[in-house]
């Protein structure tokens, strides 16, 4: 993961999604109008967050299987980058909602589920900081992190699909693959998702490396 090519690939993919996302043809729909292009930027934040949280959980499991401290540091770096991506997703979604649904915040199960998810991960960081002993901090937060990931899948992946929701693909609304994501949009959307995941991993890696330097400095 020290090589450069995947970082450049991520940047090129996002650059392509910015140019293509603003210029390529999109379906012409009422209310949405040109804001359908937000799909390339808003939804990709969530995809990136979910993947970063998944990587974080994997690192937590790897930590519990051998108690290697570097895995715990990696889990923290992935989770905090994922949290940042989620925050961006929340803010961009609020702007989008204001101009299509009419308010910044609607009582949509997906929005509330997201808010709960953010609080769950906020609790993860508070938990980390509240335990003084380094060994027990790493163990407790690793276990909590696995729980947090499962809760996130329940709150933003399962529950919104079981009730009515304004989001596509939930509660009887058509999902991707019907009118709102035609083949033109896929050409931009999927590269954008991959690009943002790569950039998210890069930022998490930087955070991990800086954290490792700090830990080494403290120990020396």
């Amino acid at each position: 993961m020290q090589s450069k090519w995947w970082k450049i690939l991520g940047i090129l993919l996002i650059l392509y999604s910015i140019i293509g996302g603003l210029l390529f043809p999109v379906p012409q729909l009422n209310i949405l109008n040109e804001t359908i292009r937000n799909l390339y930027f808003h939804v990709t934040m969530w995809f990136s967050m979910i993947f970063l949280m998944l990587f974080s959980m994997i690192q937590s499991i790897r930590f519990l299987n051998g108690f290697d401290k570097t895995k715990d540091t990696k889990a923290e770096a992935f989770a905090s980058t994922g949290m940042f991506m989620g925050l961006l997703g929340l803010l961009t979604g609020m702007v989008w909602a204001q101009f299509t649904w009419g308010t910044f915040w609607v009582n949509d199960p997906k929005l509330n589920g997201t808010a709960v998810t953010m609080l769950i991960y906020l609790a993860y960081f508070i938990l980390r900081n509240s335990i003084e002993n380094e060994d027990s901090r790493a163990r407790v937060s690793a276990i909590y992190n696995i729980l947090a990931f499962v809760m996130m899948i329940v709150f933003i992946g399962i529950l919104p699909r079981m009730t009515d929701s304004l989001h596509p693909g939930n509660g009887g609304n058509p999902a991707f693959g019907n009118y709102d994501l035609n083949s033109n949009m896929r050409m931009v959307f999927y590269p954008a998702v991959i690009g943002w995941i790569l950039i998210g991993v890069w930022v998490a890696q930087l955070r991990y490396r800086i954290k490792t330097l700090e830990i080494n400095k403290e120990n020396s």
Partner: protein, 65 residues
């Protein structure tokens, strides 16, 4: 990836030649409600951020050594 970018630029040149007959000296960046200007601005910001990120990467690498 490269061929897609190429096709975008081809589109841009095509639009340029189509508007050449108008009296106003319209160029690519002023067509379609000047949307290309917005694209250019966002692209510049993103490339700037990417370069900055590479800079941070280099600094961390230096510290690691």
């Amino acid at each position: 990836m490269k061929s897609l970018l190429g096709s975008i630029f081809c589109c841009m040149f095509f639009m340029n030649s189509a508007s050449a007959q108008a009296v106003e000296m319209a160029d690519v960046m002023r067509s379609n409600g000047k949307i290309y200007v917005v694209v250019a601005v966002i692209a510049v910001i993103f490339i700037g951020l990417a370069i900055y990120l590479f800079g941070i990467d280099q600094r961390v690498k230096k510290l690691e050594e």
